[in-house]
């Protein structure tokens, strides 16, 4: 996975709360068996509405999503993260994320940064007034900056380290394989197997 340190780009103000993963990517797209090419699926139902913000050409090259509270609720589908990434998003800012979505994001390099609701409102106002505003998300210093606004965001240390180093999960765990083998040797005999 790609390393993430400082990202600067244009931002999309998504004035909606409780955006569940069915809205981020409708179930019909989950049937694909590849890992890439989900950009068309992102917010597919909403994009049918010509007034939906993602259809506004002022926001054609966005890479930072500014969302309302409780982003990513609902189904655990990781396709939601792929769709956001395939579309070009590197960061989602919200005052609250659903746990599974957040977990999925951190593991594959999409930064979910938690900021105060008041900051979200300020950011919305800025990028609505000027879609070309350059927004910088600085992971090492945990800051989001645009114009005069400097606000801190939250991300847990472990996820931040992983993102900055670009580390893959499985490789990390397999460094401790002897501990797994040891644990397996001590599991009770009655535990079921699927065979």
């Amino acid at each position: 996975m790609e390393k993430f340190t400082v990202h600067t780009g244009h931002a999309l103000p998504l004035r909606r709360s409780n955006v569940d993963t069915d809205q981020i990517i409708p179930a019909e797209y989950l049937k694909r068996i590849s890992r890439h090419g989900f950009e068309d699926a992102l917010f597919a139902a909403w994009r049918k509405d010509p007034d939906f913000i993602l259809n506004n050409s002022d926001y054609a090259d966005v890479s930072i999503l500014i969302a309302g509270p409780d982003f990513g609720t609902g189904s655990s589908r990781e396709h939601a993260v792929w769709a956001l990434q395939d579309y070009g998003f590197k960061v989602v800012l919200s005052s609250r994320f659903a746990d599974i979505f957040r977990g999925n994001s951190g593991k594959i390099g999409l930064l979910t940064a938690v900021v105060d609701e008041a900051v979200i409102e300020q950011l919305w106002a800025i990028v609505e007034a000027d879609p070309q505003a350059e927004v910088t998300v600085d992971l090492p210093s945990r800051e989001v900056r645009v114009g005069d606004l400097v606000a801190s965001f939250d991300v847990d240390d472990y996820t931040a380290w992983r993102l900055i180093e670009g580390l893959d999960d499985i490789g990390l765990t397999l460094r401790h394989e002897e501990l797994i083998t040891e644990f397996e040797a001590n599991r009770p005999a009655w535990l079921p197997t699927t065979r």
Partner: protein, 470 residues
């Protein structure tokens, strides 16, 4: 140190604990299905990694499979490709699989428990958020994303940060005609779709203890709809009785050893939860959702809420949007809302008890002319059991379609969909926009309310049918 049940199960599975890092937890059972696994197997293949413990892994076909004409090839090419990919992956990596046509096929969360694979104190994961269902056995069971699926396949472990614990105390006894589905809908309406975020919920109290295993599964199933990672219930005699004799349950001396351990799986008296929510079961009545998230629910006797009832601006907008999507007017009595489609099934309410309860309502009655109703058993075993009891005859005599096992109309991934703009009463777990098909409008209900609604043609409880027949 005094511990809650969830903490006991967690601590018993820590492979590696280092300050400042997530715990590495061992996974006892990994369930997979065709939707969230192909990319995970792809990842393994790309990295040249094997499945570490195929004997702790199981695949079922459920989300995409048709529920009629199951002897024909799956019509939808993408569905067929996913199912075929699962078969190829299971074969290549040595994972046992229950394919369409196998007697053990069914919805992953119905299959695990009925085989006795889900047992108290285990860690169970699946690339599906309703894995919380298995918590009914006192297992720590939760949904994971596809990259975690790949991680578990490769290592049989997961790095996880501890959850907070929340007690959901349901005291008192349930009134007649009120079910476990009503309990959980009421809990979600009370704490909200984000109320359980970061928590493992432990359902406790007299009303929970009185529930059967199947009813407990319905409660735990929907923990995720309150935002919780998992929900569980301490195992007791009801749990042990359900498990004894099942195919994968321990036998003989192993059974005794297991039960002895399982009896220790209770929250210690002096343990503390990070949060406590209480509900009095005797105040509950049949519950139904009116909006587009499972927290937007009300007693069936209430009326559609108004945006003016909102506590803040966000909620006002959300109510307004939901009413518009659902095509509802504030103030309409819920019982006057006419439905077009009734779906009884899913991992929430597709078990034999659910079908029995629905059949009891349909017995001697007819589905309203304006309604299409289908009953979809959660597994082939449930289907066969229902047929042995003659439930299928009751359904078909009432004008209800009797289908084969699968997720069916719970989500719009197979041929079973609610038509655009149509309204359904559904025993499933999600009423999100488009969940049952583009433009579909979903009201979540219990099997009894679903059956009564099918007969009445509008949202109704069995008691309403009796009243109008008299």
């Amino acid at each position: 140190m005094a511990k809650t049940l969830a903490e006991k199960v967690w601590d018993a599975h820590v492979v590696r604990r280092v300050e400042g890092e997530p715990d590495l937890l061992y996974i006892d059972l990994h369930l997979t299905h065709e939707v969230t696994s192909p990319q995970a197997f792809d990842g393994l293949r790309g990295a040249g990694r094997p499945v570490r413990r195929p004997d702790l892994t199981l695949s079922t076909e459920d989300h995409n499979v048709p529920t009629f004409d199951i002897d024909k090839p799956i019509a939808d090419p993408i569905s067929r490709a996913q199912v075929e990919a699962l078969r190829i992956n299971a074969d290549e990596f040595g994972v046992p699989i229950f394919s369409l046509g196998n007697i053990e096929q069914g919805i992953v969360h119905v299959v695990g428990p009925q085989l006795g694979l889900t047992q108290p104190g285990m860690t169970v994961v699946c690339g599906d958020s309703h894995t919380s269902t298995h918590g009914a056995f006192g297992a720590l069971a939760f949904g994971i994303g596809t990259s975690e699926v790949e991680h578990v396949l490769a290592t049989q472990t997961l790095p996880l940060k501890p959850f907070k614990t929340m007690a959901i105390e349901i005291e008192g006894t349930l009134p007649d005609g009120v079910t476990s589905k009503d309990i959980i809908l009421a809990v979600i309406a009370k704490i909200g779709t984000g109320g359980g975020q970061g928590y493992v919920l432990e359902y406790r109290g007299e009303a929970i203890r009185a529930l059967s295993m199947e009813a407990r599964m319905t409660v735990c199933n929907m923990s995720i709809e309150a935002g919780a990672r998992a929900g569980l219930i301490a195992p007791d005699q009801i749990t042990f009785d359900y498990l004894e004799g099942r195919e994968h349950a321990p036998k003989g001396a192993d059974w005794d050893a297991a039960v002895e351990y399982w009896k220790t799986l209770v929250t210690d008296d002096d343990a503390t939860f990070d949060a406590v929510v209480t509900l009095d079961a005797s105040t509950l009545s049949p519950f139904v959702t009116w909006g587009t998230n499972p927290g937007q629910g009300l007693p069936l006797s209430a009326s559609v809420p108004s945006p003016d009832d909102a506590r803040d601006e966000n909620e006002r907008v959300s109510i307004e949007r939901a009413l518009e999507y659902m095509g509802l007017t504030a103030g309409t009595p819920m019982k006057e809302i006419a439905v077009d489609t009734v779906f009884i099934g899913s991992c929430t309410n597709g078990r034999i008890e659910d079908l029995r309860e629905a059949a009891a309502v349909f017995d001697g009655r007819q589905v309203a002319e304006t309604v299409t109703a289908i009953v979809v058993p959660g597994s082939v075993r449930v289907r066969l059991q229902a047929e042995a009891e003659g439930l299928d005859k009751i359904f078909t005599a009432a004008g209800v379609e009797w289908r084969n096992a699968g997720c069916s109309m719970c989500l719009a991934m197979n041929a079973d969909k609610v038509a655009p703009g149509k309204r359904s009463a559904s025993t499933s777990n999600r009423n999100f926009e488009g969940r049952q098909g583009p433009g579909s409008r979903t009201h979540l209900v219990s099997p009894q309310v679903a059956a009564a609604t099918a007969v009445a043609g509008h949202l109704a409880s069995p008691a309403d049918l009796v009243a109008s027949n008299a």
